[in-house]
Symmetry: D2
Subunit: 350 residues, 4 copies
């Protein structure tokens, strides 16, 4: 058995990791940490665990992670990088769910996160944990940067078109997310009475998933290593939707050839993802609810005949494929298990 | 025009008062206060006001209420009583939306609120602002204690049966409320991600609306002035429902006579409320959504033939008839206007 | 008093008209029709009316509209045109909430609606009922085509930029709507269990609001009268959101001048709408909930500095400014009353 | 492997069975039927299956069940009994999710379901599939009547108190259910626009789960076999809540002894259920969301000190422990597997 720590387990992504790892045949959670709840049992933090998983529920939250084989970091940025340094030195492999190792260029990190990167040297060895693109690198990594939730939906939607070079550089990503993406800390914006029956756009001045999206879309176009010089001209606007889980990204780009048909684009996408266990091309506009609780990313490419635009709709569960599920997928790859090992099955529907 | 202060306007009940008073032909809001937001304009606190009500939006929040003709208090308990003392001394009539003057017995207040009553002398002159029962007293009052939201739904459901003496003293009130009842302060329990797709019971050790309910049900039975000696043996369990507004109370009591029919009970209820502008007996189980944004309380009495029990379902919008709407209804009565003056019309449906 | 018919009152837009007209000082509903419910009283169709508006509730649904001064048509397309012919012949002014008279070109209508237009001659005199653009024409009209809900949000967002000529012809409109927009007829897609916790795109092959949007955006660019020759190259993708009311449109277009600042765009928009009673420019990303139950359309223009794109977010209540509220606004104008007469006030929030 | 048919798989309970059986190590779904969709593949009926479970998705819906080892019936009442007769004759064991075999007395069935029972002879051998009470009988059964969702929550809440004889016969069950309990057929009452932001009571004239509840509560009191002669005097009022999944039942009964404490009751309940894998006593009021997607039933007994009443709150996921999960639990027992085999793990939270 591979021993596992979950650092800052008191977050929604921490709980979601517990949900998956409780059924995982190869990973065993032996250590959980949580700053504010250190000393408590997991069953006190998440009462529902007490009744379904007495063993997990009895784990006592530590201040710091033990020297397990693997650690998942559910910390805020900066804190994650500092924890990663220590864990890697002790020989623990790390899957970091924060943004700390997603951007390869420390200067861009500092521009968006407004502080010096705590571990710039690690940026060179960290691997962006999108198995659909970096599977081989994840397999050899010590440190995996788990992608952002909006970024996963957007990048998986655009990769086939960009790699095939069928679209221009103008890209618009209009993303819709459920409220769990805002984290577990209650704020006026997450108050049920204000979030229910409401939609709004946010991050219009620049959301932190944007540089990550640009970096990966630029890489896919082969535009070179330095992302800000990359060619894609991306606008990204996230929206808050009155639901708990789910992201749906609607992506727009101009096709280079007016002659390209929807069937051709669709065939290109299907070939691109034909061997992927979790990223699937669907033949009708997908619903976020089809992915609720599962690790699927569903992708629907279509051509707007009137304008010659490619429109791609992608969706996923922001806490699973957009966070903890993808983290376990990466961990499976890190330790040489099939990527599907221990993953949740059919979405909970309705 | 009657000049009006809204004290602690930054609450949900404060905003709801603004919504009603903005269209009221006799009341004019000239002063608003808010502790945390003093010095700001109302349009900053509630941005939506800026676009619909520029005049209201430009009011600057004061620290303390001016000497207006009328003040609505949206303060927490204890703070409300202290504010009331000052305002009454200056000749301002007061409608208090807190619990401070609802209980006639200071000892009971202290048992439930765990502190000495700040103004016990005022308890003798304060009137419980349920026009359906105390209309004449409200008209002559200086200080009106606006009833609690659960209490309004429960008391209006039980009054006709208790006054007519057709039921025994065993009463169960199972109440369901939307989340705006928890107030505007964000907490883990009001986080959309946790409150959505969830129902739970709360206040099982005794909810603060219970003594208010007992007091009024006891008074309706004619059991005497001191509520704890009153006869009703009431269990009251509130539940949190994943919706913003609305309370639905399901009330259970034994009929004294096994011969009494549903039609007879129904006829009794219809006669009891036949002249009420806002409390109406309906002939099908009511939906909270039929009251959304309106000042209605809908009541449906029925007899469970198999057990001889009277079951009464009542519902209302907790922020309107359960709070600010009832407060304006009381204020209309206080100043001699028809109770329906300036009240919202048809519920917003769907 | 102006006598009013509501044709097909059993729809959500019919009920919403009742909500507004019940408080309107100049219009009086004297006739309501409803095909499936003819012979019933309004209070049977909408039980909530019975308790709040006994007079309205007692109106009996007719098969056909009387010869009132004004009729609102809440019929499906084609049926609406046929009803309009008869009513206009009898001298009744008509506000049609269907799509039948929105498109000036019968050929385009037939392309999108797959049948011959029942009254092509009326297309020349019908006025597109967007007061923000056609106020003078509405005032002189006999027949007003009330705009579609998505179209209202999108057109009001784009008008100032197009009329000022500051953007190119590439326009993307990503629209999000609540479920009441799907109408009152229950379908699998409107089932709570499937619509809740779900977002999906629809109409990807071409939504019927698209030609209406293109027609009006083309007109705003001065590209001439025949819409398909118009220049805008518009992609429009609507999305279904788990809420009852509200539309939020996020619109993307390239600025012609890289030097244009957000402040300049904002100032342009503010001047454009400065005298509008219901369409307002806001200084923070708006929330659909700020418009719940009101006739407001809120508009937030911003410049994406990284790409030089103009992004405009607009929102409204699809049943009010997107349907019945705008219809009453048009009717006020038709009969020479101020547009704000009898309109709902502050949004119901939270 | 045990071969399994799901009869009428196109229902919500059918889909939920697929979700569980897809991961079950001992059961293999080899046959699915669905009247309206016969001839279609499962992936057409539930598109989400196509991407996650290609093998299941390719099953073609038959008109009638094959001769598998086991069949789950998701049919309406009467149709279920007819299907059961045929399947049992062919040697297929049956778990029936309808009400057809829940009531032991055909006369009571006919009173509530208004038609003659199609297979009264089978009532004698059918076992009420509540493992917490009839585990031994389920193990030997050929035909299991899977309990109703409200009934499961109510009976499990009351069993310990009734078997121990600590309460009187007056019982009130106030139950709150999500909308998936109404089934997959869209109706006005399940329309998102009307069900959202709404609570209402239904079944006030007598809900069909009532005789089932009375039968089992009477049996628990030892009052004899014939349920209507049983002693419990039960009022049961279900309420529709704006959520997809979940039932929470709040149950009220008088304690016989005024001296009994909450701790004593709690201890009694904990002992009663200490070995149950899915029914658990919790030490805080439970949330339906703690059971979302899991097979748990959570039970919280408490004593209302002021009145001497026992109040028990119980909750579960109506599609899992209230239907398909309990069905698989019964099937496990039928075939001699541990009851937890293949069951879903931790609830999906948030």
């Amino acid at each position: 058995m591979v021993t596992v720590s979950i650092v800052n387990v008191t977050s929604y992504t921490g709980l979601e990791l517990l949900r998956m790892l409780a059924r995982h045949p190869e990973f065993r959670v032996t250590c959980v940490t949580g700053r504010s709840a250190a000393g408590k049992r997991l069953g006190e933090v998440f009462p529902q665990l007490g009744v379904s998983q007495p063993e997990l529920a009895s784990l006592v939250l530590a201040n710091e992670a033990d020297a397990t084989d693997l650690a998942f970091l559910c910390l805020p940025h900066a804190a994650a990088a500092e924890a990663a340094i220590k864990l890697l030195q002790r020989g623990t492999k790390v899957v970091d769910l924060s943004a700390d190792f997603r951007l390869r260029d420390a200067a861009i990190y500092e521009e968006w996160y407004k502080h010096t990167h705590p571990a710039p040297a690690l940026l060179e060895t960290a691997v962006y944990g999108l198995c659909e693109r970096y599977r081989a690198q994840v397999e050899r990594a010590e440190l995996v940067a788990n992608p952002g939730c909006h970024a996963t939906a957007a990048i998986l939607a655009m990769l086939p078109a960009l790699e095939a070079g069928i679209i221009g550089s103008d890209i618009i990503i209009d993303s819709k997310t459920g409220i769990s993406g805002a984290g577990r800390n209650p704020t006026p914006g997450t108050h049920f009475a204000e979030a229910n029956e409401d939609v709004s756009a946010y991050g219009l001045d620049g959301h932190r998933h944007l540089p990550e999206i640009i970096q990966e879309l630029a890489a896919a176009t082969g535009a070179g290593a330095h992302p800000v010089d990359g060619r894609p001209r991306v606008s990204f606007v996230p929206h808050l939707i009155p639901m708990t889980r789910g992201i749906l990204a609607t992506c727009y780009a101009d096709l280079r050839s007016a002659a390209m048909t929807g069937a051709e684009v669709r065939s290109l996408y299907e070939r691109h993802y034909e061997n992927e266990p979790f990223t699937r091309v669907v033949d009708a506009p997908p619903h976020t609810k089809w992915t609720y609780g599962s690790n699927l990313c569903l992708i629907y490419p279509t051509v707007d005949q009137r304008t010659g635009r490619l429109i791609i709709v992608s969706c996923l569960d922001n806490l699973v494929k957009g966070a903890s599920g993808q983290a376990v997928q990466n961990a499976n790859r890190l330790f040489g298990f099939p990527e599907t090992t221990g993953m949740p099955g059919i979405a909970v529907f309705p």
